[in-house]
């Protein structure tokens, strides 16, 4: 591959993987079974990224393993309706076209595991999108490092990744013990826990004790928040995640998370009052979350804008179930493909956003210049209905 016998794109992609492998001390290349590519929103990658992707596609770059795509910066069908500027939309579409040409599945979601890119336990994959990386490693027990956009794309083109970091058993051991002594009720409680712990452990591996139960949506919220406030790519939850029982937790540095820490985290993340808009679905909402929102909005009228972001796949199912209609009748919207973190909401006139996501609460002030109201969905919706 390094001699260029497969062409320039493969040679450069392979060279990139080899060099990254050398920088991080990999002993060899290993095959991957799937890839998730980030760096899709025009807002994040700008003209340099757009030009790179178009150039790569035109030189014949093609993915050789199933490869799914992160959210772009807008709903790919209803963008006009959402007030996305036309210049932005044109460039965003060119990015999507380049990925299509490379053979990438246009899933346009940060939750690939909810739309068919579901690895099995122990499988080696090369994913970017920090929340998906955390979910795949922790909840499923698949193995991936936190890839960036270009390295994930290189892995997709070569079908390989350098063998280092979280691909190896010895690097999957926890280095912090988090004792949770408060009952976590909502997705936002899990998000708050994630923000608190991510801040302390940075790129460490926390092991949680005291979480009695957590559904997949709550784990999605927890992992996303830790990957945003820190750089956590793997966590374990006693009795819940698959590798937890394999781990030795003696002698680990301990972090306490109780009533007080929970309250303190909510206070810290709330930087505004009275949101202009409430945006849910970070990471992208599951069908269960949409269903639950529809339940709260059935027969009600909203006095505030409420959006819930999800994948196109999930929206289609929700539509068939009549859930989209219920939400729209109340005055809400189901936004597909994109999300608030990667869309240009600061160009759409919003100043304060209400969220139930720890990840969104972390990113909105910086990426989108927004003040944040961080609460549970129940509280946010209660304050938004007439």
């Amino acid at each position: 591959m390094l001699r260029g016998e497969y062409g320039e794109v493969i040679e450069r992609s392979f060279r990139l993987l080899v060099r990254l492998g050398e920088i991080y001390g990999a002993d060899r290349m290993i095959p991957v079974s799937s890839v998730q590519v980030a760096g899709v929103s025009y807002k994040s990658i700008g003209d340099p990224g757009l030009e790179f992707l178009e150039d790569y596609a035109s030189k014949g770059a093609r993915v050789r393993v199933p490869t799914t795509l992160n959210p772009p910066g807008m709903d790919l069908e209803d963008w006009e309706d959402f007030g996305i500027p036309a210049d932005f939309a044109e460039k965003q579409m060119r990015i999507i076209d380049a990925f299509r040409e490379m053979g990438v599945m246009l899933t346009a979601t940060c939750t690939p595991y909810l739309v068919g890119n579901l690895p099995r336990f122990g499988e080696h994959i090369a994913w970017s999108e920090s929340s998906a990386v955390s979910f795949a490693n922790s909840v499923i027990g698949a193995r991936t490092n936190r890839e960036g956009g270009p390295s994930a794309l290189a892995s997709a083109i070569c079908g390989l990744t350098p063998n280092y970091g979280l691909h190896l058993d010895e690097n999957r051991k926890p280095n912090f013990l988090v004792k949770v002594s408060v009952e976590l009720k909502s997705n936002s409680d899990f998000g708050a826990l994630g923000c608190y712990v991510g801040n302390i452990v940075k790129n460490g591996i926390p092991y949680f004790r005291g979480i009695k139960n957590a559904d997949v949506d709550q784990l999605k919220s927890l992992g996303a928040a830790m990957a945003a406030s820190g750089a956590v790519a793997l966590y374990h939850v006693d009795g819940i995640t698959p590798e937890a029982r394999l781990m030795d937790i003696s002698g680990l540095q301990t972090i306490e998370f109780g009533e007080e820490e929970l309250k303190e985290t909510y206070e810290k993340l709330n930087t505004g009052n009275d949101p202009d808009i409430i945006i849910l679905g970070c990471p992208h909402a599951s069908l269960r979350e949409i269903s639950s929102l529809a339940g709260k909005l059935k027969g009600k009228k909203l006095k505030k804008r409420v959006w819930i972001c999800t994948s196109r796949f999930t929206k289609e199912a929700a539509k068939k179930m009549g859930l989209v209609e219920i939400i729209e009748k109340a005055g809400g919207r189901v936004v597909a493909d994109t999300c608030m973190v990667v869309s240009p909401i600061e160009r759409m006139g919003f100043k304060t956003v209400g969220v139930d996501s720890g990840k969104a609460a972390n990113y909105l002030p910086g990426f989108c210049k927004q003040a944040v109201v961080f609460k549970s969905v129940d509280e946010l919706i209660r304050e938004a209905v007439l």
Binding site: L16, G46, P48, F52, G148, P150
Partner: protein, 128 residues
Amino acid sequence: MRGRMISPGKAEGEALVSKEPIGFYGGVDPKTGIVIERGHELEGKCIKDKILVFPHGKGSTVGSYVIYGLMKNGVAPAAIVNKETETIVATGAILAGIACVDGVDIEKIKTGDRVRVNADEATVEIVG
């Protein structure tokens, strides 16, 4: 000086040396190759065809794409020499096909020196 090859290739040119790290996204204009980061020691300087010498990259990972854009727009440095190349610059240099060597004592190189880089052999030579 012998270092480590990050991206292959050979180049000779005038050195442009920065003691500060360089963040390419928002720091260098991909159309002109001019350093635009406010207050950066290379602000206003053009990196086109230079042997660009700096300790390491910084900032957004989109910087890799900027390095690629510099090459496509014909304003890329002839070669990059780092103290220690991190993933942003490594990714950009490899994708763009710009010769890049790290692990050499960059303090020996002064702006204006004539420098020969042979990344294939991982060597950096001050020739005048």
